[in-house]
Each structure stands twice: as C-alpha cells, then as structure tokens.
C-alpha cells in the first residue's frame, strides 16, 4: 500500500488559493524532492498534508486512511490527530520552542506514550546524526545559532515514530557547508518502509540523491523541474 495518496488537493488561506488540484502518490521507502521557487506552494503543500492551512479540499490518504477532506476553517485543529498517526513535520524556519532547553525541545517530538518512554535512546540516536547538539543539550533553545536551531527542529521531527517525514527547506538561510551536512544527514536516515518529502529551493543539494524530484510551480506539481525554477540556473535561484 502506498504511504501517501493525494487526489485533487486544493488549499489556501482566506480568499487566496495556493494549491490547485494536486495529485501525488508516494510509495514506501521513497525519498521525494520537491523543488520550486519561493511562494509557489511547497510549504503550503506540506502544511496541507497535516491540516495546517486556512482551508483545504481533496482526498489525502495516509496508509489508506483519510486524513484530508473538505475543511473551511479550524486551521491546525486536526493537526495533532494527523501527526499522531505517524507523520513528522519539520517546519520551515525557526520552528522551535525558544524558552525550552534543547533537550526538552527534542523530547517534545516524542509525543506518544511509547516514544516518550524510550526518549533517552531516541535522543542519543539524534545526537549521532547531529553531533554538534550534544554539548548544547541543557542550553535554552532561543540562544542557539540558526544552523543549530534547524538541527533541533529536524531532530525533533526525527524523534517520533513516524513513517512519513516532511522536511521543509532544510537549507534555507544556512551556510552552504552546514546545509550540505544537514541534508546528508537527512539522506542517511534509515526510513524502513516509511517515506520522506524534502522541499528545497536548492536543486543541486538534493538532485541525484533522492529517488524522485518533482517541481512545484504556481500551486501545481510538474515533472519538469526547470519550469518550476523559472528557467533560472537552479544554483542562482537560491540567491535571488
């Protein structure tokens, strides 16, 4: 059974419609790269999967269970239930809890009873993936640098027992070397029969290292990645 089957997904905020009738199927073990310029709906697409958009319509089947459907209000109201089925989202930007320590931030990713009990083991696994976080465990997350925050945010997503990881713009605003390491770490994670979607502006960072790359242009999925990046050389696209 496919991990994720999206059929006719439209979503937006208020009067603005961002996604237009998207359809997508993701098989177990697949790593999908989602490429597109700013403002073309990558973040909205990932948010729509977990119900974090203003409104949405269309079927989203996660392991055969409906998590989408028509919704006109109540942004984020169903998100906790959806996330608990096994979807982990690492949102764009500094989406960490600034007043909590790094350890608490990571622990907050272990939100089910079973993962909470094994949180120490899981935390150690995260620290193997992101060694720079080890000395910072007791520090307040608000005092970290941008790269460290991103590691915490991604690490928090990895703490859960998810079978679908959604990673939004792991490289945004980071120095090239740091983002390279971060993405490398993401690609090394053993997915098992799970899957991962990485939304990214910087095509060379993921090209050839994920199983499939789709372009996102004006709220539509495109097989042609060039169009999604507006025919600008992809590397330049990041610095526009």
């Amino acid at each position: 059974m496919a991990i994720l089957e999206i059929e006719g997904l439209s979503a937006g905020y208020g009067p603005v419609r961002v996604l237009h009738d998207l359809s997508l199927t993701i098989e177990p073990g697949e790593r999908l790269g989602l490429v597109g310029l700013n403002g073309h709906g990558k973040t909205t697409f990932l948010s729509a999967i977990v119900g974090l958009t203003g409104w949405q319509d269309g079927s989203v089947l996660f392991r055969g269970e409906q998590i989408g459907g028509r919704r006109t209000h109540g942004m984020g109201r169903k998100t906790p239930q959806i996330v608990r089925r096994g979807i982990a989202l690492a949102p764009q930007g500094d989406a960490i809890f600034p007043g909590l320590s790094v350890r608490e931030n990571l622990d907050s990713g272990a939100y089910t009873g079973a993962t909470w009990r094994s949180r120490r083991k899981r935390r150690e696994r995260i620290l193997e993936v992101f060694p720079p976080l080890a000395p910072l465990l007791g520090q307040t997350a608000g005092t970290l640098s941008g790269g460290e925050r991103r590691m915490v945010s991604v690490g928090r997503a990895l703490m859960s027992d998810a079978s679908l990881y959604l990673v939004d713009e792991p490289s945004l605003g980071l120095a090239p070397k740091i983002s390279l390491n971060l993405v490398a770490a993401l690609l090394e994670i053993d997915l098992g029969d799970g899957a991962m979607i990485i939304a990214e502006q910087n095509l060379p960072l993921i090209e050839g290292r994920v199983d499939r790359v789709l372009g996102m242009h004006a709220g539509d999925l495109k097989l042609d990645v060039g169009e999604a990046l507006g025919d600008v050389p992809p590397a330049a696209g990041v610095h526009l």
Binding site: G76, F97, D107
Partner: protein, 297 residues
C-alpha cells in the same frame, strides 16, 4: 515578627494558588479567566454540600477533612471545565479571542453569582475545620493547626504542579503550547484538549484555595470577588504566565498584607496592595516575572 511571617505565608499560599491558576490559563491559552471567582465559589459550595452529607453519615476526622479538600478541588475543576466549554472551546479559533473570552468569562461570573444566590440563598455557609483546632508551639512562635495545614497543603500542591509541569510529557506539552500553539500542534499537542486540561488544573488549584480560605471566612455567593481581585493583583504583579514570578509576588503581597494588618490597620490593606502593584507595574510593566528573567540572564 515571626507571627507576621507566618501570617504572610498563610495569605501567600491561599491567594498564590488562585493567582497561579489565572497565570497558567493566561499563558497557555491566552484567556484571562475572570470567572475564577465563580470557580472559587463552586469549589466552596461543593465542599459544603459534601460536608453536609458527610456529617449526616457520621464521618469525622481525616475522612471528613480529606473529603472536603478533594470535593472542593473536584467541584472547582468541574466549574473550570464548564467555563472552558462555554468561553474557550467555541471561541478558540475565532478572531478577537482575547477580548471575547474575557467578556464571556465576565458574563459567566455575572450569571454564576445569581445562580448561587438562587440555589443556596444569601446566607454564609461555614465549612468544618479541615485541620482540626489547636495550636502548636515551636520555640518562641506558635501557629494554629489551620495555619500550618494551609501552608503545608498549598506548598505541596504547588510543588506537585511545578514538578508535573517540568518533568511529565503533558507538562512539557503545556509549556510548548505556551510558546507557540501552532508549533505545538505540529508535535501532536491539541490546543483544545490541552487547554481544557489547563482549565481543570487551575480550577482545582482555585478550589483548594477556596477550601483553605473558607477556614477563615465563609462561603457565600459573592465570596469569590475579593479572592479574585487579590489573585488578579498577584498575577499582575508577578507577570502573567510566569510561575516563579507569581510565587514571588504572592510572597510579597502576603508579607505586605500581614505587615500592614499588624503594624498599621487592617482597613489600609487594599490601599497598600494597590500601591505596591502600581509601583511594580510602573517600574516593571510586565511584572516581577520579567525581572526574574532578567536576573537569570
């Protein structure tokens, strides 16, 4: 002098519990619960009802005392959930939530007072002494069982809540939600159910303080107004949302009240309290909590 400290501690424990309830609710769901006075009386009346029946069953001693405490907390927790069902759940993701929920809780407290009046009449209802009657002498100072019990029960309860907030999964979720509700939704925290949980907990704290306060005063339909005002003053002075700040403010206000009552006049207490809060707010517009955060850095 020691008597003053003891009486300050007693006052601080009783009002601090309410203030922490207000503060927690505000910080986690952004709702200023002015129906706290209604919740307060709800706990008092539940405990009183229980005491009536318990005396009928011939219950005495520890069973009666524990029952009064537990039923007071239970009644207030239920009242907290009731307030949440009316003022929090329907309004939660609508615009202007803060103002509207504030008005809704005010309306609830308006209705609540009248409902108590209809149900129980305007007479004062006394609660049985929970901690027994008597005094204990330690060296030069002495305190009544009631004072000692109040301090112990309130501190234990407070410690439990803080411990639970710091170390359990639910507590972590609650603190995460205080910082970023949508971010918390991403890590599986439901704002609605966690919010109701917070309301129940702060209700229970208020209920406890209601039972403790009823040892000195009585339960009556309007008996919630004065604790609500003092609780508000403390949570303001402590900085809404900061538990350490609120505890510090409760101590300060309790001390001020005890000192004023001892050396000046009981009638001057409100003025002193008000002056302290205004002074604190003028120098620290976000209350003592902000001050503590500065010190920590």
């Amino acid at each position: 002098m020691i008597e003053v400290v003891i009486s300050a501690l007693v006052l601080a424990s009783m009002y601090g519990l309410i203030a922490i309830g207000i503060s927690l609710t505000w910080a986690s769901i952004g709702m200023l619960n002015l129906a706290q006075g209604f919740i307060f009386t709800a706990g008092g009346y539940t405990a009183w009802l229980y005491a009536q029946y318990a005396e009928g069953w011939g219950l005495e001693g520890v069973g009666l005392s524990a029952g009064v405490l537990i039923f007071g907390m239970l009644g207030s927790a239920l009242a907290g959930l009731f307030v949440g069902a009316i003022a929090f759940l329907p309004l939660q993701d609508r615009d202007n939530f803060r103002t509207r929920s504030l008005i809704a809780t005010l309306a609830i407290s308006l209705i609540g007072t009248q409902i108590w009046l209809i149900l129980f009449g305007p007479q004062n209802k006394p609660l049985p002494p929970v901690f027994g009657e008597g005094r204990i002498e330690i060296g030069p100072a002495g305190m009544s069982y009631q004072q000692l019990g109040t301090i112990i029960v309130a501190s234990v309860m407070l410690a439990l809540v803080i411990l639970w907030m710091r170390s359990s999964r639910r507590g972590l979720q609650m603190r995460a939600m205080m910082m970023d509700p949508l971010g918390a939704a991403v890590v599986g925290v439901s704002v609605r159910s966690t919010g109701m949980r917070v309301l129940a907990i702060s209700g229970a704290l208020t209920g406890l303080s209601s039972v403790l306060l009823a040892q000195v005063f009585f339960v009556s339909p309007t008996s919630g107004v004065q604790p609500l005002t003092t609780g508000l003053i403390i949570s303001l002075a402590g900085g809404l949302g900061s538990i350490p700040g609120t505890v510090a403010a409760a101590g300060l206000i309790g001390l001020a009240e005890a000192l004023t009552a001892r050396y000046l006049q009981q009638s001057l207490v409100p003025f002193v309290l008000f002056a302290i809060v205004v002074l604190i707010l003028i120098f620290r517009p976000r209350g003592l909590g902000g001050l503590l955060e500065d010190v920590r850095e």
